[in-house]
């Protein structure tokens, strides 16, 4: 079963997907594998493993800081792939997708990246600064599927286009802005998610700004799952036991998402 089928199956089963975003190498590269386990334990359907970058221009202060800490601790794409491979060997039922900016991927080169990603069982690639028009820059045999993004200002025609480009799912950026936990999301987000789903025909996972389980009931019905990034990084920041903190952080989201309306 490939990743696209995996997503489709969960969606079909009526389960809302819970997808934590973990910055690889944060707080240190040594934590990555155990944090992946903790998130799986906490109820993640799959995990986005973020590749730190010096210039994360789509990210807010929390993920910028996490990225910097990880880089200073020696995090690299290579090490992230090794951690993913280790985790995949141990727990193949929880897929890992890589999320990262174009440049570190290009620096490795599309072909080595495809080879190593395949070997590590990487399920998909999310590249926030690579529009589908430029996916050819990462084209290589064996490369995991790329995931398109949509934003509240994406025109309808573009949504249709994104739908026809396809992908295992569509990443719906819930806000105009960078990543970062927000206390409240705009009331128009559910309508945006519904529109996105309708126009693209793809499973839609919503991300950017989701910070509290209390937000789940408003958002989950309008899409197929939620991606949680900055709020998790914040929970890990300074935690005495990051692994426990990750699990404790995620469980309430899982509970909220599994609650039937």
């Amino acid at each position: 079963m490939n990743f696209t089928e995996f997503i489709a199956q969960r969606v079909a089963s009526g389960r809302k997907l819970l997808v934590p975003y973990l910055c690889a190498g944060y707080p240190t590269p040594d934590h990555t594998v155990s944090l992946l386990h903790a998130l799986a334990d906490g109820g993640a359907d799959f995990i986005e493993l973020g590749i730190p970058f010096s210039d994360p221009l789509a990210d807010g202060p929390v993920l910028q800081a996490a990225s910097l800490v990880a880089l200073r601790a020696g995090s690299t794409l290579e090490k992230a792939l090794e951690a993913a491979a280790t985790f995949h060997a141990q727990r193949p039922e929880v897929p890992v997708a890589l999320m990262g900016y174009t440049n570190p991927f290009l620096a490795m080169g599309a072909e080595p990246l495809a080879r190593k990603a395949e070997a590590a069982g990487i399920a998909a690639l999310l590249v926030p600064d690579l529009l589908p028009e430029l996916w050819d820059h990462l084209a290589a045999p064996g490369m995991p599927p790329l995931v398109p993004f949509a934003a509240p200002n994406t025109p309808e025609a573009r949504l249709k286009e994104l739908g026809s480009i396809g992908g295992p799912f569509l990443y719906a950026v819930a806000v105009l802005g960078v990543t970062g936990a927000r206390e409240n999301l705009s009331d128009s987000v559910p309508a945006f998610l519904a529109r996105t789903k309708a126009k693209t025909g793809l499973p839609v996972l919503a991300g950017f700004g989701i910070s509290r389980p209390e937000q789940v009931p408003d958002l989950a019905p309008a899409c197929d799952g939620l991606i949680i990034g900055s709020a998790l990084a914040k929970a890990l920041d300074g935690a005495a036991d990051p692994v426990q903190a990750a699990k404790d952080f995620l469980i309430p989201f899982r509970v909220a998402m599994d609650k039937k309306p």
Binding site: L57, D129, L131, L134
Partner: protein
Amino acid sequence: MTRPLTQPDDRGFFGAFGGRFVPETLKPALDELSVAYAVAKDDPSFQAEFAEALATYSCHPTPLYHAERLSEHVGVPVYLKREDLNHLGAHKVNNALGQIILARRMGKKRIIAETGAGQHGVATAAVAARFGLECMVHMGEEDIRRQKLNVRRMELMGATVKPALSGSRTLKDATNEAIRDWVANVETTFYLIGSVVGPHPYPSMVRDFQSCIGREALAQMQERTGGLPTYGVACVGGGSNAMGLFHPLSAHPEIELIGIEAAGEGVDTERHAATLTKGFPGVLHGAMSYLLQDAEGQVTEAHSISAGLDYPGIGPEHAHFHTTGRARYESATDAEAINAFETLSCLEGIIPAFESSHALAWVLRNAGKLKGPVLLCLSGRGDKDMEEYLLHKEGK
């Protein structure tokens, strides 16, 4: 015989370089901008408004100055294209005017910009004031500290200067912040980029707005000497003054185009900004181009005594010219630039910007070996650099 001028392809690429490496959120804004600019470009009323602004808000055509004593010093005639005489002291205002007129046509009410040394920020603040538009300039906290006077100039003209607190807190980070601001406010905000960098259509649009440099200079050279220069020389930070000169000149295959990057303390040290000399292709700030980066694709910090060249990227059209060989890129160190700064001041009574001093340094280095007239873009004046110069001298 003239050659056709380079234009980006449908996806905004010059050969392998350029494009639009941006979040989906920015795509509609870039589409809107591309269309608006394509329309404006062919609209005589836009071009007339732009030309009038260049001529009266700044002083275009800027003079072409035959630097006699410098010429004697290096053995061939040297002509300086006096972009240092522009309003606010550098070529930056040319582009700022072009973009702000476009922004107004597009109905945008809020202007944002990134700035390093503050030259582009000052130009943006000025044109925003002139058109009564709200303006926010993103500037690294470290640069704010180093360039206090430019910060105050921007504030005096009504702009808000927003400190960029991330990364090295310099130009690269200010650019990240500006892009983040744009993403968050994309529907009301016009992002006025300061060089031939960023996602398509910025590199070609900024180049077009700066092309007055080369067009005017060609006509002035013809009028003054009846011929073409042997060399067209300019410093390269992001590359806007250089491309403004090179692009019109590139139609004439006999002109050698030479771009000078900042070699800082030497290209064999870690402290330089010689992107084409020492970098390799990568993606930063929305475009594929050459980049100073480590093996992991992490962007490294640039260094130059000249704040305006202190940038780890370079405009994609330069990367293309570099690859095709249409232009040659060399570098000059801090020490060579300082020497050129002093030399022009003493020989001609013109204090050049540290940036422009890099281009002059190439001419001085090649004194006695040059084969014909040099046309050099004197991109800015050096008043802004006096303090740094004195610090540098005291440090010796």
